[in-house]
Symmetry: C5
Subunit: 286 residues, 5 copies
Amino acid sequence: MINYNPKDWFTFIFHVHKGDTIRKLWPLMLSVSIFSAFVAFLELNIFKLSKSDYVSNIGMMHSLLGFVISMLLVFRTNTSYDRWWDGRKLLGSLTNVSRNFAMKVKALKLNEEDIRFFEYGIPKYGFALKEHLREKLYFGKNSFLIEVEASKHIPNQIASSMISKLYDLTSKGFISQEQLIVLTNDVNQFTDICGGCERIKNTPIPFSYSAFIKKFIFIYVLTIPIGWVFSLGYYLVLIVPFILYVLASLELIAEEIENPFGEDANDLPVDQICNNIEKHVEEILG
Amino acid sequence: MINYNPKDWFTFIFHVHKGDTIRKLWPLMLSVSIFSAFVAFLELNIFKLSKSDYVSNIGMMHSLLGFVISMLLVFRTNTSYDRWWDGRKLLGSLTNVSRNFAMKVKALKLNEEDIRFFEYGIPKYGFALKEHLREKLYFGKNSFLIEVEASKHIPNQIASSMISKLYDLTSKGFISQEQLIVLTNDVNQFTDICGGCERIKNTPIPFSYSAFIKKFIFIYVLTIPIGWVFSLGYYLVLIVPFILYVLASLELIAEEIENPFGEDANDLPVDQICNNIEKHVEEILG
Amino acid sequence: MINYNPKDWFTFIFHVHKGDTIRKLWPLMLSVSIFSAFVAFLELNIFKLSKSDYVSNIGMMHSLLGFVISMLLVFRTNTSYDRWWDGRKLLGSLTNVSRNFAMKVKALKLNEEDIRFFEYGIPKYGFALKEHLREKLYFGKNSFLIEVEASKHIPNQIASSMISKLYDLTSKGFISQEQLIVLTNDVNQFTDICGGCERIKNTPIPFSYSAFIKKFIFIYVLTIPIGWVFSLGYYLVLIVPFILYVLASLELIAEEIENPFGEDANDLPVDQICNNIEKHVEEILG
Amino acid sequence: MINYNPKDWFTFIFHVHKGDTIRKLWPLMLSVSIFSAFVAFLELNIFKLSKSDYVSNIGMMHSLLGFVISMLLVFRTNTSYDRWWDGRKLLGSLTNVSRNFAMKVKALKLNEEDIRFFEYGIPKYGFALKEHLREKLYFGKNSFLIEVEASKHIPNQIASSMISKLYDLTSKGFISQEQLIVLTNDVNQFTDICGGCERIKNTPIPFSYSAFIKKFIFIYVLTIPIGWVFSLGYYLVLIVPFILYVLASLELIAEEIENPFGEDANDLPVDQICNNIEKHVEEILG
Amino acid sequence: MINYNPKDWFTFIFHVHKGDTIRKLWPLMLSVSIFSAFVAFLELNIFKLSKSDYVSNIGMMHSLLGFVISMLLVFRTNTSYDRWWDGRKLLGSLTNVSRNFAMKVKALKLNEEDIRFFEYGIPKYGFALKEHLREKLYFGKNSFLIEVEASKHIPNQIASSMISKLYDLTSKGFISQEQLIVLTNDVNQFTDICGGCERIKNTPIPFSYSAFIKKFIFIYVLTIPIGWVFSLGYYLVLIVPFILYVLASLELIAEEIENPFGEDANDLPVDQICNNIEKHVEEILG
């Protein structure tokens, strides 16, 4: 995620940031511009068509479908943003659960070794989840405290060993049955958060919508010059790419934020969140 | 579900995928194209109507109702997508509950036979639910561990035998009363998930909306050529089918994803989710 | 609810179903058609007004307000659909709670008589709720197991006698304190569901919106012919009723599904849900 | 709240109900009508401007901003309705919690005096909340059972004395620790509901939106006659007030339902809900 | 937050309040006005272009993209408002939890000193959270009761010392295991609320949307005069700034309410909420 001061308008407008869609779209915009010039040349200079030809009214179709394409893009934007925000909430819950769990562990007054176990295990879950979502393996420092096998689901192994630890401590009499329930529930929330993140990561918008929106934008933009050339002439070489920029940017940003756990410009600050968890858990249990 | 790289635009645009709506719509589009040609021929060549006739202004109605039809389609899209995503969340919960339940069972340190019971029963619930939603029967391998009757609701029978097992283990002293509450709650969540999926599967959008949207699209598209023929002439044979393609595609995709538990191109990866549950439960309890 | 195959377009379009809004709207559409003819006759043949008169531009108002009316109808549609779907979720929860409660009762291994009490009482709650929402009384078969007074709130009485039964069984030692909490919670959910359904049934959309939307549609449609007659002549007798059909249908369907517990064509399958609960509870406890 | 039969269209349309916005808007509509006449007189008769003057195209701005104003009004409508419905849900929860709490109190088989305490205290909370939200004091009949001080937060005092009663009964052995948790949770829900209602009552939509929407509507409507006079002449004296009526009604209704706990025509049936709670609690505990 | 009577329209319209966007936008509006005059002068007086030039039809692009820009602004408005309202809910929960926690502490009949601890600690959490969200440090009066280190997360330290206190009281026998669970859960909710507020504060809308919307508004508004000059002449110097005012105001308000915990005109009444918590907790425990 890029940190920015949201009130600084002018920088936004004239500076092309790292995450700017124009960086990805300019080759397409250039092609569309050339295509528009070609259409204009064909219709105006070769076939010498005029405003009285039927072809000049094709813009009627674009007006009629203008609503539909706008609404589809808003639908796309909303659903992607919801996933992004949903992912942010899940990572927020990870922070909350980690802190609450640590506070309870502290209050239990366990012996030093067991406190170290949780001081190590709680932030480890966060880091392991982060790498799991980025399809990397994670073992972490001091990994002898909780041993994991690379071939199995790593966050699950960490959660499972924390739950086993809790049951152990209960059977040894350090934790009461009632406390066990509450503490187990916290570890279960870790797994729920993991499942929620996996869901967001593994389920893009239904294929049909994605394909349909792209096909629709493409045909819509490429047919604009055919009818508008009689009103706008060679100005089309600027106008059509701008329309493409607007429509395709929305689709592009939506695609990018749909999976918010990566390392793209707009992705969530997963690393920072994990570091915060580690810091806070150390503050509480240290 | 089709796996795809969402950034690969050109493949999308020029390739007609398995789930593409054009595969279902081309006969209708062809008919509408022929109908448009027929209307154009009638109005232009037989009746020799002109732009000064009242009939040429029928497009005013299409402009006015253009908002309404767009918004209806967005309403349709939103509600279908919400069901699809709701279904995805339910299947995600199934994964989470299965894992959490397995972790707790592991921590209980039951004897081998009882662990096998749950290692078998937890993923079995997922598979049974999958087949139940597809209206097939499911018995599964090693079915002697949990016997089910085909004439009764199969997921219910599995959940019920797991609950009875838990109460048994409690009365034998292997599980405390407090743990029993937590474990029973997990099995209840299985049944809640089953009920949620049944709700999505059995409740399509209210009949009146479905019928009204189809009637509206049909009348809307078929009356377009009547008024537009004076502006667009025989280009209608391309334009009207395209408008139909856009409007009807949205309705078609919405219909398809409304029930997301089947085996259509856009349906949820139910099989993969069930296999993952089996894999993870085995990892935890194995 | 009408069961239908959502992919069967043509039946939808040409067949006028039981729940079709045209059945209720045709008298209004006919009146509007006659009114349009009258306006056209007056303006064109009596006053002999022409396109250069100011009156011919009244359509500008209709274009400007076209957005507002579309968005209001979408707002109306969304809120009604949300209630309908909310009602469906509540009935789904009723199914889930009934099943979960029955499974736990089974696992308790109570004596035969007490099992019969719950096998009778759980589905009875569903049936009583159904009749309560339709403002009928319900006593049910074998009503001697749970006696209810017609003058009091019937679902409450059933829930209250189930809770009292649970406390009784606890004081007799058949149910532990921990189990009592969980079981009481299930019965409380019955009452929550009942309260949720009563809320949907008793709270229509705020009166002002309902009145405003109807006034707006009415004035909007009746003023259309005044300005459009110069562009569309006597075609108005077809076009204005169609616009009315579209706008008023949305309001009509919204009204119908707003209270989804009745016996209208689009209402929820309450009877079927209650029968399913009875069947499943019998399967579990039988 | 006005009770009405939502299917009775004609009464709606021709009858001006108590809650009708036209009652509040007619002075403003009249002023705008006179203003429009004045503008028309000025432009047409004094300055004798014509359609070829630049001023006649000011309507372009109104078309362009027509989307924005519609969407802002829908945003306003949605957020107000959400608060109204949110308030309704909170009052529904009040009913549910009151019933569930009473059922559990009944099942506890306390002695007569303690049952009277709760039979008195539960509905008293509802009434006290109602008056609290209307900024009145409430003491209620038999107030000696729960004494409250007028200078302190009254619902809090009632909730606090119920919780203290529960802890008392626990320390006397009438209620088990497990039941105490469940019963305390019910009383906590009362306070949560109170907090939710206070939140809705005390937090109108951000000031900037409220001010911006009003400014925007005002400038938008007052500039319409300037450009439209050349197309519509003196018909403006009817059309401009109607546009104002539509836009301002939405803002007015939104304002009214934003705080739904008062005694306005569209407010929630708070009195009826409180009376129902009293009736049901008496039925259960009586 | 500015307190206002939402029904007082005229003050709104003619008074420029403290939070009014025009205060921030007038320099930009003035620049755009001058730019429009310059464009008009160039096209009309220098190049002497006329309505028959292609350039006069550039407004077609603005009509087509009018939908998209409106919908983007509504998306922006909705997401910002959701955060604002979400923040308000979190602060409402803070009030609820504080009250409920205090009521339970009162009912426990602890000794005077322990009651003072919580009477001090509960409101202290609120104040500390407030300052934490404004990136200030907070120690509070009587800080010797709960000592905090400035270098660590202050709300966490307060919550942690409350949890430790609860466990202490439990091990001394003043609180039962069951009550401990409930009370710990309340303190955990404090941390959840803190996490929720931090999430809202630290996560602005994805950078790409923010940059894209600003770029889009800027280019859109600056290209309007190019095409509209032939219809509106020098009236542009009033119309273009007004369009900018409408579009940019929505973006500005959205930016302001996105982080609602500050001290801006539209921010939430955080101070008042904290004072209320202190007052109510004192009323309950005093």
